[in-house]
């Protein structure tokens, strides 16, 4: 399977390569490998499960997550941990790097299951330490941060907020308030529409029980985070009134944005921020398929169905894939309901003051950005989006604040070491670069 090349890196060949080890990627890899194909699954993390099933599987997600992990291993998928795909030096070959080395991964068919990240919106004080994403704080707690006895305000929008609040409470945190920017009207319509997904109603009721004693406010969002060296309190607005709450952490995320940088780098067409796929999850590049959040933000259930369809499709099992189309349509209706319910209200675009930092990597202030008319002009004049996150945080923020469209994607899609990139240009021998 491995062919040694020059010292320092290897090329590994797969019939099917899956990028992303979350629910969609695990399902795709398992189904394709069960059809007898030689499958590789590459992920940046140390474990399978992606962000949603990240480490310590809890009671709710544990069964489903370990079922798919078992299928992945039983089917003989080669799992490559701690490797991040940064470029495609030529068609059919991806370049990936770990903290120690880089490798080339060759594929005949590729399944992109790159997941989603939280959307962050800037407001005064949002750069203070201990103001974190909602999923961000949950991830840090899952990776060992004790939260027992800490006061956490959870804010933003989307179904993740309640899940995070319940998780933090179950680990001993006090959560005085959950601020949801959506209106009661749209939340009520969401609740009524949920009756079509009984399992989700049960999850919701369970969350409600776990959250007894936590106030939940709709029409509510953070205005300013206060503190000197770190967060001390947050001022929020709630039904037109402001309130300042002392807290240790503010867990704040505004739903999710799909990770479509790699699909776009590879030339896959995206429409309205989502990767375009056909019934079989095939992108506009015939050898490349895409599943899960990059095609629409629909959660675990939709991701698993799409992953399975992609895995079957790359194995040429069209008839079996078709059997899942009905389930997928049902799950997609839920994705559309999420979109409608948690649309961002326009007031949120007025939160930054002139001095609020919008681009956290380059510390670009709102006052400097608002003079520009496009993402490209802002980048060229202010360095907005040119730091190590490559616009992953400020890109979606400026899209919302100024209605700017992201630029074309250029390699590497993540900051990479010079040795890694030298392998692409061929101008530097990898062994000579130290």
């Amino acid at each position: 399977m491995k062919t040694s090349r020059e010292a320092g890196h290897t090329t590994t060949r797969f019939e099917v390569l899956v990028v992303g080890g979350g629910p969609a990627g695990m399902a795709a890899a398992a189904r394709a490998a069960e059809c007898g194909l030689r499958v590789g699954l590459v992920d940046d993390n140390f474990r399978l499960g992606g962000q949603i099933w990240r480490s310590q599987p809890d009671a709710d997600s544990g069964a489903e997550a370990s079922k798919w992990a078992e299928r992945v291993f039983k089917a003989g998928v080669t799992v490559l941990y701690g490797l991040r795909v940064v470029d495609q030096p030529e068609a059919g070959i991806l370049l990936a790097e770990s903290s120690e080395r880089f490798s080339e991964l060759a594929y005949e068919k590729l399944v992109l299951a790159t997941g989603a990240r939280e959307r962050f919106l800037p407001f005064p004080g949002w750069t203070l330490p201990n103001v974190m994403g909602a999923g961000g704080l949950q991830a840090i707690v899952k990776s060992g941060l004790p939260i027992d006895g800490k006061r956490v305000v959870v804010a933003g929008t989307g179904p993740l907020l309640l899940a995070v609040a319940a998780y933090l409470r179950s680990h001993g945190a006090q959560v005085p308030l959950v601020c949801e920017q959506a209106t009661w009207g749209s939340l009520t319509r969401f609740g009524l529409a949920l009756s079509r997904w009984p399992a989700k109603v049960i999850q919701g009721l369970q969350l409600r029980r776990d959250l007894t004693g936590t106030r939940f406010a709709a029409n509510s969002w953070p205005l300013t985070a206060h503190g000197q060296q770190a967060l001390e309190s947050v001022t929020i607005t709630r039904a037109g009134r402001t309130e300042t709450i002392a807290c240790d952490y503010l867990a704040c995320g505004f739903h999710l944005v799909p990770n479509i940088e790699l699909p776009r780098l590879l030339g896959c067409t995206a429409t309205n921020g989502y990767v375009t796929v056909d019934d079989f999850q095939q992108t506009t590049i015939p050898s490349i398929f895409c599943a899960g959040e990059p095609t629409s933000i629909g959660g675990v259930e939709l991701a698993i169905i799409e992953g399975q369809i992609a895995g079957l499709a790359v194995a040429g099992r069209a008839a079996e894939a078709r059997l899942l189309f009905g389930k997928r349509e049902r799950a997609r209706r839920f994705a559309r309901l999420l979109d409608r319910t948690f649309q961002l209200r326009s007031e949120l675009s007025k939160l930054p003051s002139a001095e609020t930092i919008i681009c956290r990597c380059e510390d670009v202030l709102y006052s400097r950005l608002r003079k520009h008319t496009s993402w490209r002009a802002a980048k060229l004049h202010t360095r907005c989006g040119m730091g190590p996150c490559q616009g992953r945080v400020c890109g979606p923020a400026t899209q919302f604040l100024f209605n700017w469209n992201p630029d074309s994607v250029r390699p590497p899609v993540f900051p990479a070491r010079i040795e890694t990139m030298a392998a692409v240009t061929g101008q530097l021998e990898p062994s000579a670069a130290k």
């Binding site: 940046d44 993390n45 140390f46 962000q51 480490s55 903290s99 990240r117 939280e118 962050f120 750069t127 203070l128 330490p129 201990n130 103001v131 974190m132 994403g133 999923g135 961000g136 704080l137 949950q138 991830a139 840090i140 990776s143 060992g144 941060l145 004790p146 060296q229 770190a230 990770n259 930092i357 956290r360 990597c361 380059e362 510390d363 730091g387 190590p388 996150c389 992953r392 945080v393 900051p415």
Partner: protein, 80 residues
């Protein structure tokens, strides 16, 4: 298996449970991960390796995303 992993953050010893990430050790040490270009203290934001706010030097290697690295015995972390 060790019941605690001990490492240093800017020279100060800190013990963390096995499996904790370097970001957690830095937060437990009460430190910011990095100083921004205009001089602000910054800590972890996304928790999943995309925002690069938690980057630090680990055993002399700069720009490591501390939320993506597990603590190891004797590791030397310096904030940026």
């Amino acid at each position: 298996m060790l019941s605690q992993v001990t490492l240093t953050v800017n020279g100060t010893q800190i013990a963390v449970p096995p499996g904790a990430t370097v970001a957690v050790a830095i937060m437990l040490a009460g430190q910011a991960c990095r100083t921004s270009v205009s001089g602000e203290p910054r800590g972890p934001l996304c928790g999943m390796g995309i925002c690069f706010e938690c980057r630090v030097a680990i055993d002399g290697k700069a720009h490591c995303r501390s939320c993506q690295v597990l603590c190891e015995e004797g590791m030397q972390v310096s904030t940026e």
